[in-house]
Amino acid sequence: MSTDAAVKLLHSDDELVARIRDEQDRASFEELVRRHRNRVFALALRMVKNEEEALEIVQETFLSAWRKLPEFRGEAQFGSWVHRIAANFALMKLRHQKVVDGVEEPLESLDGKFRPDGHWDVYPTGMWGRRADDLALDAELRNRLIAAVEKLPDTYRAVFMLRDFDGLSYDEIAETLQTTIPAVKSRLHRARLALRADLAAYFEEKEGA
């Protein structure tokens, strides 16, 4: 590693952004790309479910960031900003493929699991929730989780990825997806409910096997 590259490791994202803005410093930009490319790629891949298309999104995202950096004034974190750009590119690509047609697909509903008085009718069995942090994430469970995320309708998947994977604020997500904060929260909740239902089925199969 060159001295210049080693020095870059010591700088915050904000400092690197300032160097790019003020000096058009390519090495600082390369360091920012290196820091954020894995998570941007993960977001893109789960949205479009195809490595080549995900790469195109990552390329366009960082190229767009490079071009727009002179206007970037640090109201947001650099990481949040590039994730929002990537989410927009991914949704545009999905719309082009006519995968997003404006009609939300139905998601797992809990409506039938409560009695009219609002108490459980179907008991949510299983202790797996308590030991989740200690669970080894083997290939089978990892693949099941990824499949569950990829099964979510596009707009729910986008909200889940931006909030639970990338940690964006509700404001940022609502602005990115051009919707309201209550709509973002509602989609996030339903996405989590669907993932819980999928995982509950997985653990029932495992424990019943």
Partner: protein
């Protein structure tokens, strides 16, 4: 048959409906207290809460990945060519 022994002001469905705000501490204090009391007296809701939280955390772990080396090289090549 319900296993809910809670006598709080909210029922199980209310608790589930409010989980997003509850987990982020965004409920009004009185409502948050009502949910706390409900969870203490309702094992099914407590199990559900654990599962709901676990589903998000396990998914986050499963989604972590590195961009494959061959794609990282293509990305570098693309940016070298286009970022002028």
């Amino acid at each position: 048959m319900s296993h809910c022994g809670s006598h709080s002001k909210v029922n199980c469905k209310h608790c589930v409906d409010l989980l997003v705000d509850y987990l982020e501490g965004q409920l009004p204090p009185e409502q948050e207290k009502a949910l706390d009391e409900h969870f203490m007296g309702c094992p099914p809701c407590l199990d559900f809460l654990d599962q709901y939280r676990a589903s998000s955390r396990l998914s986050q772990r499963a989604l972590e990945m590195e961009i494959p080396a061959v794609l990282a090289d293509k990305l570098d090549e693309f940016l070298s060519k286009h970022c002028k």
